[in-house]
Symmetry: none
DNA sequence: GCAAATTAATGATTTATTCAAG
DNA sequence: CTTGAATAAATCATTAATTTGC
């Protein structure tokens, strides 16, 4: 590659360029027209080499991956579709409330199968999770510590603890896939 | 510290819990789903009182403040480049200028709130703050057209020369068409 | 050294966006 | 055009660090 000198094979956006593009996108411009592309390009060229097609492709890819991500999320949530029941509580408008709506159903199925790609949308190439290793006890969630009255706020018993498998399989789940199971009761 | 019997009003993570949470985060888990939150919670409960919502909020806050930190950093970079002051001379009579640049670029980076200066960073004192996003709100003289899609071609009043052929389908919302309108250079 | 006063961190809530379905 | 669900941004509130005068 790079036959003549130091010509990169493809556009390498600078952090500023990415940031500005994302901000433009977030502000509502999802598909710029030609004029907009031209102007965005000329402004971004201040931060590095860039041409119109880079901007065009960036918006196309960004929008596509946005939709893809959201669709995958919705798909996973549809897998657990049963437990979308309304509860009426005083805090039902809070963020974490919506997060815990489903009860214990996520445990029924260990996890979404690693090969559950929906039709054409994927790219995850996630290294497959190994055994599901339900290495957590029967703790059922909340407040498992004993109530000894001691608040135990930042008890200084800092010792070299062996971290439990923090790079275990379940952590490798992709970001943004926050399916809502019942983590709160 | 809270004396015995007094329940602290909020979760006070132990150093072990914080360490483990940070380790998990660093290893790539930014938004745990409900099942993951359950697992983390039940394991962290070994080190002290904790419940699911604490884990949930911890990740939310940690991720948000990570982003915030990074955004501040990039903001400084942008600031030293004087991006906000830079304007291209030929922009000022164009559609792009009116509906894109002046209102939106200044608020590209919602930098930290002016009330709380975190780590010795001074307010940039840019006076371009008030404008609310008037993306498509041409209420005054700029009401030439709905300016998405066919640009200025409604009445046949093509005022200036077209820098780009503004007609292609990819301008609408259609991204299936890979044919460019000749804007690629 | 020691608390009151002040400031910085951070846990917990609220508000605004976003996408897509109805 | 409205609504649901998810979540990021912004904000509120409380705890911890620290400064300060004695």
């Amino acid at each position: 590659m790079s036959p003549s000198g130091i010509t990169p094979s493809r556009w390498c956006p600078t952090p500023e360029q990415v940031m500005i593009l994302e901000e433009i996108y977030r502000n509502g411009l999802k598909t710029p027209n030609a004029t907009q592309i031209q102007h965005i390009t000329s402004h971004l060229s201040f931060y590095g080499k860039i041409e119109g097609k880079n901007v065009f492709y960036w918006f196309q890819n960004h929008k596509a991956r946005d939709r893809q991500k959201l669709r995958r999320k919705l798909y996973k949530q549809l897998q657990q579709h049963h437990f979308l029941m309304k509860r009426h509580r005083f805090d039902e408008h809070t963020q974490f409330f919506h997060y815990f709506l489903p009860q214990h159903v996520p445990q029924l199925l260990p996890f979404p199968s690693p090969s559950h790609q929906k039709e054409g949308e994927e790219e995850p190439a996630t290294e497959v999770e190994g055994g599901r290793t339900t290495w957590f006890g029967g703790d059922e969630g909340t407040t498992v510590a004993e109530e000894d009255g001691e608040t135990t706020c930042r008890n200084g018993t800092l010792r070299t603890l062996e971290l439990f498998p923090v790079r275990a399989s379940w952590m490798k789940e992709e970001e943004g896939t926050s399916g809502n199971g019942g983590w709160m009761n």
